[in-house]
Symmetry: none
Subunit: 234 residues, 2 copies
């Protein structure tokens, strides 16, 4: 973070980083004290603030880094190679674990100077409302760290698959449809002389559920309760 003026932004950045498993915060010429306000916003990420490094220049901050990417909303006469947040994450994933990468975030009001931008290999542009495109600096850090974490994380789909209950078989689902048809005939909702598309529509509805076995059992339980209800009433 270069020349940051608001301690709340530094604290919020620390929290966003820790949320996304990024740990190394470097402050280049910070313009504010890192005290109570920063720590309050950092919430559980105070270790990131404790372990921060402070440098007098961006050059010093990025000296060990092989890939330096600037996030800066200012428009410049000299166009810089641009990447999206996703491309940034892809570039980082391609590197080995020893290679150091810097993401550079400019001043809240004036971004990076041209001299600072010269130290950066790419400029990352967060897609945004063209009429209000400047994100808060901690929000920009959140978005970029999120893209990087997402690229490296185990997909959520895998966890869902593990947690997923046993899926109902086609045989069990067909059993449900037969039962449903029978009960709807009994309650006269289905007119067997003139069935129309009713069962077809209900199939379309329940089939897209991809029901689990226990869900089919609940639905059949409901149908049985309607049938028993009849025998009680008779």
């Amino acid at each position: 973070m270069v020349g940051t003026t608001h301690p709340g932004n530094i604290g919020a950045a620390a929290r966003a980083m820790h949320n996304m498993s990024v740990s190394s915060l470097v402050l280049v010429e910070p313009k504010c004290p890192i005290g109570e306000i920063a720590y309050a916003r950092a919430s559980g990420a105070s270790a990131i603030l404790d372990n921060r490094r402070t440098t007098a220049s961006l050059q010093e901050a990025v000296r060990e880094c092989s890939l330096v990417i600037a996030s800066s909303a200012r428009i410049r006469s000299l166009p810089w190679p641009e990447v999206t947040p996703q491309q940034t994450a892809e570039k980082i994933r391609e590197l080995d674990a020893q290679t150091r990468v810097a993401l550079v975030f400019g001043r809240e009001h004036s971004g990076l100077t041209n001299a600072e931008l010269q130290l950066c290999h790419y400029m990352v542009n967060i897609p945004a409302n063209p009429e209000f495109s400047s994100l808060n600096v901690a929000a920009a850090i959140q978005v970029l760290c999120y893209e990087i974490f997402k690229m490296n994380a185990n997909p959520v789909e895998d966890r869902q698959a593990i947690a997923r209950e046993c899926a109902a078989t086609s045989h069990e689902i067909e059993g449900y449809f037969r039962h449903l048809e029978q009960v709807l005939t009994t309650t006269q909702f289905l007119d067997t002389e003139n069935p129309g598309l009713l069962m077809q529509r209900l199939r379309r509805l329940y089939q897209r559920l991809e029901m689990t076995r226990s869900e089919v059992n609940i639905l059949r339980g409901i149908l049985s309760s309607v049938e028993k209800y009849r025998s009680r009433s008779e």
Copy 2:
């Protein structure tokens, strides 16, 4: 935003929303004044705060919405259908422009109550550091709105929206659940003294259907036929 306690978070959320071209902010039972602090953090997005709506309950807030997605970090015994931020953006892209969607963000410290979660069709889980997974609420709004903006910035030709029928609103779906509960009580499938998790499981099942209005009407027709069947038998 439900029960938000810090005005800075509401202001930061407004800025994040406006950055990503999202405009409709609803505060459910806010626990703080929306004044100087909120407006300072909103920066150029004060119009979002000016035009905010305030409601006394989440139910009232989402009444006209057909797709309700909760962002909540709390872990629950009964798993709710989970989606990633990207899948959230995909679901929203598939809807037509008239269909209203709610993204629901819980309280800073305690998230959403189970009753509030019941109103939501999906839970979105932002991939994060398992040891520090709770994002600041405005940061979570930033990430989700970013994914939605990014998805819409890359429009896809084959939108399903054209073919899609009119989606049922939250209000219509809640009407169905009330009717279902009533009929299940009548048929004694539901024991009101000892309801267990039955209604919760049925909600989870039907909510992931993303029903159309005409499907809700069919299902309510079935319930009515069970009720009439009773009166005929008596």
